[in-house]
């Protein structure tokens, strides 16, 4: 049976690509018997969830910001690129 070090490595890899059947099976067997690695699996999913949904800011682009950006863009549009 694989140890926790190997199991945790497989858990992380399984987030990146589908594990080969044999590895998936050995991880499955390990997880059946190991609470710690089972928790790690759940935590890795939590990390992903928290990272994907950063707190929504209610801030919005206001008129002043829009004008600043637009002015910058217009200026840029009218300036020929340096290398020409």
């Amino acid at each position: 049976m694989i140890n926790c070090h190997s199991a945790s490595r497989l858990i992380s890899k399984s987030r990146e690509y589908p594990l080969p059947l044999l590895k998936r099976f050995s991880l499955f067997i390990h997880l059946k018997a190991c609470d710690a690695c089972h928790n790690f699996l759940r935590h890795v999913e939590i990390f992903s969830r928290v990272a994907k949904n950063p707190e929504d800011s209610n801030q919005d682009i206001d008129e002043a910001m829009k004008m600043r950006i637009l002015n910058h863009l217009r200026h840029h549009q009218n300036t020929p690129p340096d290398h020409l």
Binding site: C4, A36, C37, I46, A51, P54, K66, R68
Partner: protein, 197 residues
């Protein structure tokens, strides 16, 4: 189907009106700084203007703009952390420098505990704060890679191209990043408060 005429009429004001809000919020969510987020959106639109010929109409305008924005955010992450990868290269998958997390027989030194309902946890402000702090504490190159993968949802190929690392490296580094988060959060997250609420 957008025709040639349509792609020629570049209208930045229309971009700001239809996508500005989403782009700005996206930048804010990842940078947590209004001035930086504004610069980022501005730089994105400048780059879009310069490369408007590369927009082929296959993806939506928003997807295209968001793609550019992601790269601008990564540039800022890079500057913020002054990333050097020198110490983070691994060629051997088993030499992943995780000795301090496991004992000689491969058991956890600090076994991951049950933190409670994952769905509830992810919503908790206090937990998010611990998470953010732990992300800042880990080696900068690991944090950058983790953010590219999980926050910006880049795939392995995009990550390798953008950061100039190999697939093997990126997997080992992501593993280390996750172990760091596991260890740091376990130390800093007050489980007793979790049980009370």
């Amino acid at each position: 189907m957008p025709n040639a005429e349509e792609t020629k009429t570049i209208n930045p004001e229309k971009w700001i009106d239809s996508h500005g809000k989403i782009l700005f919020r996206y930048a804010m969510a990842h940078l947590q700084n209004e001035a930086l987020a504004e610069d980022c959106v501005q730089d994105t639109l400048v780059a879009a203007l310069e490369h408007s010929h590369s927009f082929n109409g296959q993806s939506s305008e928003l997807t295209w703009l968001t793609g550019i924005l992601k790269h601008k955010i990564i540039d800022i992450y890079r500057k913020r952390h002054r990333i050097t990868y020198e110490n983070e290269f691994y060629t051997d998958e088993n030499a992943d420098n995780t000795d301090n997390f496991f004992d000689q027989s491969g058991h956890w030194v600090n076994a991951p505990a049950d933190w409670g309902d994952p769905l509830k946890l992810a919503e908790k402000k206090a937990f998010r704060q611990v998470f953010e702090t732990c992300l800042k504490k880990m080696p900068a190159s690991l944090a950058l890679l983790f953010s590219c993968r999980e926050s910006l949802e880049m795939n392995t190929e995009e990550i390798c191209n953008t950061l100039g690392i190999t697939t093997v490296n990126s997997r080992i580094m992501l593993y280390r990043a996750r172990l760091h988060l596991q260890g740091c959060i376990q130390t800093n997250w007050d489980l007793s408060s979790e049980i009370q609420t």
